[in-house]
Symmetry: C2
Subunit: 372 residues, 2 copies
């Protein structure tokens, strides 16, 4: 194999590869990126056995071939090369080396045979549709904070993407929860997605997917089967196993009868929660909300270190209520609000609370209270 490729294009491809590769793994070849120069372009492929990413880059192919080389080392080298450099990659299979030449720099890297590289088996996808990058970004960005990190509840370690019944018909819905809080985000159902099986997209895949979604105008080809999900731009294909488990019936967790309505400036609210939480050094800081006619008092009481209180002018017309929440959960939920106001709907101090942006039903959050 011998190819020449512009440094910028190479960096982009290798950056994506090295981020999928696991830092520590017992199978040496999983640290490598598979470079395939065959046919009309060069492909860079990396995998951790659960996720596979393939990045196409324009290159001049002088001699077709393929090899695998450490993704981290190649990324570090390319990152340090001067912008605009032309990089030549030459594989010497007999010597087990890949040389990287750019200007007066040259590197010789240990390779492993391409035959040993585990390529993810191709799948039959039941559902293939196209979704706009900005739409997917909203679905995952607004839900991923609620993904559980508890490994024993593996079926909560991802975002549940599925087709659901919304108020105005079928919607594409992402839900995540860790049992303490829940996010449910809806988008218009893309054409062709009606038969999509519901899948739990793992946390790491959600993170890798994010890198494909920066361009608002980009169309993303989405393919879904019972066991795999694939997201593709013209240049990058991200394939991932989905979590083999059943996502719990979240609909029962979303309160329907909460009537006590608080409307508050989301940014002011978040700042105030952040401030009052300062006095407590515990990991699960409880913030107390005292609601009265158009008045909200936030307070924290940490017997050892001190107390804090802050008053906010809000819209609230129901009877007096005291309710406590984990400060971190409140902050995260408040920071999901893009518009000015957050609307909280309470029932009692022991019941789950619902939060949404104004009257918009397409992004709904639930948070469990804690005793204060």
């Amino acid at each position: 194999m011998k190819i020449s490729i512009e440094r910028g294009a190479l960096l982009k491809a290798v950056a994506q590869a090295q981020s999928v590769v696991e830092r520590r793994n017992t199978i040496p070849i999983l640290a490598n990126v598979l470079i395939e120069a065959e046919g009309e372009g060069v492909q860079f492929r990396a995998t951790d056995l659960d996720i596979e990413v393939v990045d196409k880059a324009p290159a001049m192919i002088e001699r077709p071939g393929a090899t695998t080389v450490s993704a981290t080392t190649l990324h570090e080298i390319v990152r340090k090369l001067p912008d605009g450099a032309l990089v030549t990659l030459t594989a010497d299979a007999a010597a087990g080396r890949l040389t990287v030449d750019a200007g007066r720099s040259n590197f010789s890297l240990a390779t492993l045979p391409r035959e040993d590289f585990p390529v993810m088996a191709s799948s039959e996808y039941q559902s293939n549709f196209t979704a706009n990058a900005a739409v997917l970004r909203r679905l995952f960005d607004k839900s991923k904070f609620a993904i559980s990190t508890e490994e024993t509840r593996y079926y909560l370690n991802g975002v549940y993407m599925h087709v659901a019944d919304g108020d105005g018909g079928k919607v594409l819905r992402c839900v995540a929860t860790d049992g303490h809080r829940l996010a449910r985000i809806d988008a218009d159902l893309p054409a062709g997605a009606t038969d999509m099986p519901g899948v739990i997209v793992p946390r790491k895949t959600v993170g890798e997917l994010r890198k494909l979604l920066d361009d608002d105008e980009m169309d993303i080809a989405v393919s879904v089967s019972e066991t795999k999900v694939r997201f593709a731009t013209p240049d990058i294909t991200l394939t991932s196993k989905v979590i083999d488990g059943t996502f719990p019936d979240y609909t029962r967790v979303i309160p329907q009868g909460n009537t006590r309505r608080l409307e508050v400036d989301a940014s002011e609210f978040a700042k105030a929660v952040d401030r009052v939480a300062t006095v407590s050094s515990e990991r699960s800081r409880a913030v107390k909300l005292q609601l009265d006619e158009d008045k909200l008092v936030l307070s924290v009481n940490a017997p050892d270190s001190g107390a804090a209180e802050e008053e906010l002018a809000v819209a609230y017309g129901d009877e007096r209520l005291e309710i406590g929440f984990n400060a971190k959960y409140l902050l995260e939920i408040a920071s999901q609000v893009d518009r000015e106001n957050a609307v909280f709907l309470f029932n009692s101090s022991g019941d789950p609370t619902l939060m949404r942006e104004g009257n918009d039903q397409s992004a709904v959050y639930v948070v469990m209270p804690m005793r204060v």
Copy 2:
């Protein structure tokens, strides 16, 4: 005590205090900042028993007094208050609380009695002089990278500031070394500094001092005794114990007879060293320099992962030489060069190498070679 102070001024004073305070310490009051509102201003004092910083801030004193409160918590609170807020601090000695009021936020923090706060004993200073902030910044910034981190060689855990004989007479000199590399930086001797005893300024003090030196025009009042050093601006006074030890005779380490002269673009050199070092994952990466008529070849050979080589056009007229260095040391030294060219003076591949900026003798670096 009751005082009102503008949030910006309070943040500046408390930020300085909380950075001196040790995160983990067994004496609770050492986590606190002493706030003293007496006479004509408010002083914020923090100490770790080795360093003491006192920051004056303008404030309205309604009721004089003093108290101590957690520096970290107060800093966090003030940081999160809106810019421009007026903050009122009220100490209630009977309740052991300090209340912090700003707008609709109020906080009540646990205090410890001021009597328990360890104030550093005042000293007689043998030498008092004034130095420009930019001059001190250069002396310490260019030497501190060479400070040793080996705790057993405690006398190398700082910068040795002393009066020395330079080419054109007495100079104010800072030296640091860890036995592998050495930095020797000179500045004109300030008036009144002639009798200054040589002192080893500890690493942490060098870091705290740096925050006083941002303003090029600022005059810093320096006071030195055998056991302490003090740096003061009109607002901030930093007092520190010096390291109780003898700095080794560094003059013997600085080679005098090195004649093989290499002149190289410092930035290009540093980038090339960084690139070739990429292929080695070891902590002490050895870079080999091969010198030939106006040509420098840098190379690294890591049997496991690969090899790298880069050629640079340089000015070199002496006989062929091969010499190896720790890549990290070479990088750090090259990045001290402000001007375009670094001048290296070699003897043999086993002897210490000298580096300076052009022909400037006021900043000299020594680095030990390693076998490659």
